[in-house]
């Protein structure tokens, strides 16, 4: 089902009063990409799933109040961003590894390859990404990877206007370029 068809189908179910089906379809339809966005910012899949579970719960609770002034996809991203911000304020951006997972940490295969040759590009990209704030990452992911319009991004990020977003996007771009050149 294409994104447009998905949106239309969900809206039909919503307008028919079948909120259960609408919410289920929304979570199934948009879950993977929203969860992927959360995982990219948090750099941790299980944490992302926990945040997504909170997002889904909020969607279930508030779907009846959704007014369709923006797309449902945009709204789910908005919910996810809010949950993400709350999560980050609770836990910070440091990934905490419980000691019960020590085995996994230690179990990473040892290699004699020096780190900067091992996964140079991946490491550098994740380093560059983590140098951005969560909102800057959100802006970048939504614009570049999710191909959202400036209007949609403004809805997700809230109280940001399109020109301001464009400027911010350019600043992020320049900063990444500078950081990459310093590598």
């Amino acid at each position: 089902m294409s994104p447009t068809e998905l949106e239309v189908t969900i809206r039909k179910q919503f307008e028919a009063g079948d909120l259960h089906a609408a919410a289920t379809l929304a979570i199934n339809g948009y879950g993977r990409e929203v969860c992927g966005y959360l995982a990219a910012v948090l750099a941790d899949e299980e944490q992302a799933r926990d945040v997504f579970a909170e997002t889904a719960a909020e969607l279930w609770r508030d779907l009846s109040r959704f007014r369709w002034q923006a797309s449902l996809r945009t709204w789910i991203y908005t919910l996810a961003r809010h949950r993400l911000a709350a999560h980050l304020s609770r836990h910070g951006r440091q990934r905490t590894v419980p000691l019960s997972e020590a085995a996994d940490v230690v179990a990473r295969p040892h290699t004699t390859t020096v780190p900067w040759k091992r996964t140079a590009v991946k490491d550098t990209v994740s380093r560059l990404r983590s140098s951005l704030s969560a909102d800057d990452q959100t802006l970048l992911i939504l614009r570049v990877d999710r191909a959202m319009s400036w209007r949609e991004i403004a809805d997700v990020i809230g109280d940001a206007h399109e020109p301001a977003l464009r400027k911010r996007y350019e600043r992020i771009k320049n900063r990444l370029r500078d950081l990459a050149s310093a590598e």
């Binding site: 992927g36 996994d104 992911i141 500078d178 990459a180």
Partner: protein, 772 residues
């Protein structure tokens, strides 16, 4: 980035800024978690999440066909799927009442799952922590776990990750071994039972190991030495892990002596000297448990009889009334130092006793008491001046001045080593009128595997709630004290229970604390029922191999050289060396620290280098809530964080640092952690006209150039007085300075200093504040 738009990211060319953006913005889809009501595999209806770990999450689910609860372990993508399948096959090959039962395996949305028996009794760790458990109860449950492990070994497998978290209990109280993610076939098993042929091939067709030999798998703290070295392991590695867990579970309890040799053998560093199989170990324990049950009633009768008719043979030897013990000996009265009968009158008391099994009490009538006893002398064999066996308390109560010198506590005779016994020795200095000096005191067990869970020396002023008069503070001095290995707390200093007390002055000179969980632990009066020493001086002491617990359930008390908790008026630490401790010094609340300690650069163990987890939570100095610290001439070497200044408090810390060297720390100064410093905090690393002279050479030795970029980490949200003036930032690469200077969200003034921050990967926190 070159002028034509070409950029080098790492060693790979990136075509343009756009491609760089695409790479950074890439967010691959991730499967959302199952929600309540989702049906997995057409049969398992998700109820709720039970927990998550490194390999995925575990859900409580309902088996719709058979109408029972199951635990559904849903793994992440990628390599874990392979591991899941292998785990399922491992589990399916073992059917035993003490091994968790597997029902099904499959995949859901590309993620592998295992449906297994749901056990609602929690883990063995939770069981142990729920309430006090007697040794018999603990041993019985470990025997069950050993039987489960043995079943796994019989199937030709070795678990490789045995620990209390991986042992589950059912509501029936029966234990089951679980979590076989690391299990793998053994190439050669020792004979399981006598008469059974040695197994030379895996008995089940499990996949080849995922990780090559040389890789270290398991949980630090529970791994056998050969596993830590990355060598091939067999069932005896599980035996070691089980004995480690059992030893930890029994810590602090008085256990029968027969347990010690069994543990000693199971914990032998050389697998060849351990039991051939867990069956042997279980039989040894079972035999003794049965024997104990058989003799329990007669022993009780004998004990009652002994109490009713005390047949003490008393001999007077150098002023000590020493009861000769009947055998077996349930209880002995305290040994008393008769000061008046001593050769030196009130001046001194010599104690040439041979065996001390219970308390040595110094009477209140003594003005000056000098307890002298030599150490073990190999030439004289049995003529040991002092051998302490059994739990012992030495009370220095009542004496005006108590000096205990040369108190030996080490029994290295071969027979003692062969049959080690649990020992707990407490030196209780319990009268505030006494000045106490201890010198040449050596408390060593020589049996680290056995001794655990006890304080080496306890200095307390006791419960003086009833005392109404003024309390002159005593002075306690410990010179040349050796504590360890194996004590939870090398030296605990507490002021007793009266909030009226003003504390004492304690000085430790040339102490040597090793393999304790906390070298010196001073408990203060922040909560109103403890009192701190007025001053704690530690000079010329060494804190070595302070042990980090295998879990962090005990919070910040894990593996700390010196922990000062609340209200020490003055803490001075000079010329002391901290090696291998989780944190060198931890200070909380109102304590005022003046430290010029060293953190030894030369003996960082290999463990430190590769144990990322413990490395993440280590610091040279950790200042907790509102601590005030004057740090001068410290040499903090190699810890991931040189100095952590705590936050999240309404009280403002005052930190002044001069002429310190933060050498090869991942983070030289970590301000605040997840919180914020109050507005009026002062973190002073040198001001104009008073250059601090601190040197920061962060992580130059580490191979990862990314981690090496961190100099100062400061998620500071509010303005505060934070000055870095005249400090030297040696070996910080220019590109890092550029990066730092490029990010100028300056909320903090850093004059001629440098703050950087970007920790890639798992420990990322980014904030950079600078004004060059």
């Amino acid at each position: 980035m070159s002028g034509d738009g070409q950029s080098a990211v790492g060693s790979v060319e990136v075509e343009s800024v756009d491609s760089l953006l695409r790479a950074v913005a890439r967010a691959a889809d991730v499967d959302p978690p199952p929600v309540e009501g989702d049906v997995i595999g057409g049969n398992y209806c998700i109820e709720r999440k039970l927990g998550a770990g490194g390999m995925g999450a575990v859900y409580l689910a309902r088996d719709l066909r058979l109408h029972r609860w199951i635990a559904l372990k849903l793994h992440s993508h990628g390599e874990n799927a392979q591991r899941t399948e292998r785990e399922a096959r491992v589990l399916a090959s073992v059917v035993h009442p003490n091994v968790v039962t597997i029902h099904d395996v499959g995949s859901w949305n590309g993620r592998a799952y295992i449906a297994m028996e749901y056990l609602d009794g929690g883990t063995l760790r939770a069981w142990l922590g729920a309430r006090y458990r007697g040794w018999r109860e603990i041993v019985a449950i470990f025997v069950e776990a050993a039987r489960g492990l043995d079943a796994i070994h019989r199937a030709g497998l070795v678990h490789r990750d045995f620990k209390p978290d991986n042992v589950l209990l059912g509501s029936d109280g029966r234990v089951r071994i679980a979590d076989f993610g690391l299990a793998r076939p053994v190439r050669t098993l020792p004979p399981v039972v006598a008469g059974t042929p040695r197994t030379t091939e895996p008995l089940s067709p499990i996949d080849a190991p995922l990780t090559a030999t040389g890789t270290c798998l398991g949980t630090p703290g529970y791994m056998a030495p050969e596993a830590e070295r990355g060598e091939e392991v067999d069932a005896r590695a599980d035996q070691y892990s089980l004995c480690i867990a059992l030893r930890a579970a029994l810590a602090g309890r008085t256990v029968p002596r027969w347990i010690a040799p069994i543990l000693h053998r199971g914990l032998h560093p050389d697998p060849a000297h351990r039991y051939g199989s867990l069956v042997e170990l279980v039989e040894a324990m079972d035999r003794r448990l049965r024997a104990r049950r058989r003799w329990l009633v007669p022993a009780l009768v004998a004990a009652i009889a002994a109490a009713a008719v005390p047949l003490w043979l008393t001999s007077r030897t150098g002023g000590i009334a020493m009861p000769l013990r009947a055998c077996p000996q349930p209880e002995l009265p305290a040994l008393h130092v008769d000061a008046a009968a001593a050769p030196g009158g009130n001046g001194s008391v010599a104690c040439p006793f041979r065996t001390l099994s219970e308390a040595l009490v110094i009477p209140a009538s003594a003005r000056i008491v000098h307890v002298a006893a030599g150490r073990y002398d190999a030439e004289h064999g049995e003529r040991l001046p002092l051998v302490i066996r059994g739990d012992t308390e030495i009370h220095g109560a009542g004496a005006e001045i108590t000096t205990i010198a040369g108190l030996g506590y080490f029994d290295p005779r071969p027979e003692a080593l062969a049959t080690p016994h649990p020992l707990r020795v407490s030196l209780v200095i319990g009268d505030r009128r006494a000045d106490v000096a201890l010198s040449g005191l050596s408390i060593e067990s020589g049996q680290r595997e056995i001794v655990d869970g006890a304080a080496g020396i306890l200095c307390t002023s006791g419960n003086l709630d009833a005392f109404q008069g003024p309390l002159p503070a005593p002075n306690t001095r410990l010179d040349h004290v050796i504590v360890g290995p194996g004590y939870e707390l090398g030296l605990i200093v507490t002021g007793g229970t009266s909030p009226r007390m003003t504390g004492c002055n304690l000085s430790v000179t040339a102490g040597f604390f090793h393999h304790a969980n906390v070298g010196i632990w001073q408990v203060g009066c922040g909560t109103g029922y403890h009192e701190a020493p007025t001053a704690l001086d530690v000079t010329n002491s060494a804190f070595r191999a302070i042990r980090a617990k295998p879990d962090i359930s005990n919070g910040p008390s894990s593996g700390v050289g010196i922990m000062v908790w609340d209200c020490a008026r003055r803490v001075h630490i000079a010329d002391s060396v901290f090696v291998e401790s989780d944190k060198g010094i931890t200070l909380t609340r109102h304590a005022i620290l003046r430290s010029d300690a060293r953190y030894d650069p030369d003996e960082l163990p290999a463990l430190f280098e590769r144990n990322e987890l413990s490395a993440m939570r280590e610091a040279g100095i950790h200042l907790g809530l509102a601590a005030r610290a004057e740090l001068v001439d410290n040499h903090i070497w190699g810890s991931p964080a040189g100095l952590i200044i705590g936050a999240a408090s309404t009280e403002a810390p005052r930190v002044r640092a001069r002429n310190n060297q933060f050498w090869r720390n991942v983070i030289a100064v970590n301000v605040a952690g997840n919180g914020e410093l109050p507005r009026d905090s002062v973190v002073d690393f040198g001001r104009t006209g008073d250059p601090g002279g601190n040197k920061f050479n962060c992580n130059a030795a580490r191979s990862d150039p990314v981690a090496a970029t961190i100099a100062v980490q400061m998620p500071v949200a509010r303005p505060l007085s934070l000055d870095f003036v005249g400090n030297r930032w040696d070996h910080v690469p220019p590109r890092i300075r550029r990066r730092f200077q490029a990010s100028s969200r300056a909320e903090v003034v850093l004059a001629a200093g440098l703050a950087v921050v970007d920790v890639g990967g798992a420990t990322s926190t980014t904030t950079a504040c600078a004004r060059p």
